[in-house]
Symmetry: C2
Subunit: 259 residues, 2 copies
Amino acid sequence: MNLVLVAPDELDAQGFVHLHGRRAEHLVRVLGAARGTRLRVGVVRGATGIGEVVRNESGAVTVAVRLEGTAPPPPSVSLVLGLPRPKALSRLLGAVASMGVARIDIVNAWRVDKSYFDSPRLDAGTLAEAIWLGCEQGMTTWLPEVAVFRRFTDLLPRLAASPAGGCRLVAHPRASRLLEGAPTAALDVPTVLALGPDGGWIDGEVAALAEQGFVPVSLGPWVLRTEIAAPIALAELALLRRLRSAREGASPPFEARFD
Amino acid sequence: MNLVLVAPDELDAQGFVHLHGRRAEHLVRVLGAARGTRLRVGVVRGATGIGEVVRNESGAVTVAVRLEGTAPPPPSVSLVLGLPRPKALSRLLGAVASMGVARIDIVNAWRVDKSYFDSPRLDAGTLAEAIWLGCEQGMTTWLPEVAVFRRFTDLLPRLAASPAGGCRLVAHPRASRLLEGAPTAALDVPTVLALGPDGGWIDGEVAALAEQGFVPVSLGPWVLRTEIAAPIALAELALLRRLRSAREGASPPFEARFD
């Protein structure tokens, strides 16, 4: 727990938060927090700041919080994820939440084992916990929204109803274009990135996403599990965007353009 | 198992391989292989090709293998990894092996829980299995070498004895320079990338690595677990190298060419 994440209504008008249960226990047992210990605290979808433990009694920890500045800008990238093995799902959600994403749509696909949808790891509470832990670890307050689509076709109307524009990419190992070849990949615009389940999307799914404006791209020469492909895709997008803004911020170098 | 990986001495002079145990069982039970099934086969540190199941009897599977061409070029990147939680170690080794790495040195560090070194997951056989499974999944024949250093200082003479030159980077979230700012990061040269345990390297470790020519770099604005940081670092390096060779391969921008 690198950040003590609290819901807005957990912070009282005097700036105190009273923790019980998992967070209190983790603070005391794992981090050795005691009266006077200072911690990094963040409010869900809000600012971060410094907290100081002012009371630690019978399993309850009270932290006095001083927030600094305003909330960081919201993440610009959302994910559509073909459901991986349930055991990998919690890890995957934690990893991408730790990197900051706006929204995660978990979706059925042809190559998803149908039994996966019976897993208790898809319960709303379990999904929310994995994401919360990821945000604590990654020190981000932008808890993504999550939805589960038990039929791939149920996702399509939602995509069709979303505002057009921005960047829509579908990862596909056999795509003829690499991520950096997609004209919008380096732009800092609202982005939806669709990653298939282990084994990938089938052609019909790629075609249905293409109809919704998704450009098929390959992330590189690898055969990746979904749980690794998703963080890699986020990192590659972020790197392309950093390179682009560095190019635009600096005086134009003679080797000016990659796209 | 996307690739049936076999050791060179498993392939007989007539091009047959006789599989028992895990691989035979996986082929039959999970992939439903039977007489006539065609599979992708690769020889450790060698070529890949097509195999055809010619016999499947009492738990033993015989595959006739026809290799195509020569071995792919060896990976240029090696890793130094601060030991993560043992449970994460097998996954991490599988993930990086699936992407292709030349060598993995697992090392103790200040922020490694000392009990981790007692885990059976550090047994040579368990490490080798995780790597083998990763190569099967990632379809690479370049099984990396692995070594475990129970003291950080034991690693340093090995680094000092290795050929100079190439690219040496140490990932450090507080580094003032991003990966793309390291002059050698985009060059396709022998590279060693050092990633700390969860919590990162301490300053003394970064300094000791810097004495061996390692340049501290940040992978981006994230707080990442080692098991995610390592694949991300490999992907970022590969992307920088692709961009560089695309720039060098392309005709200069802004210049009309009619030939």
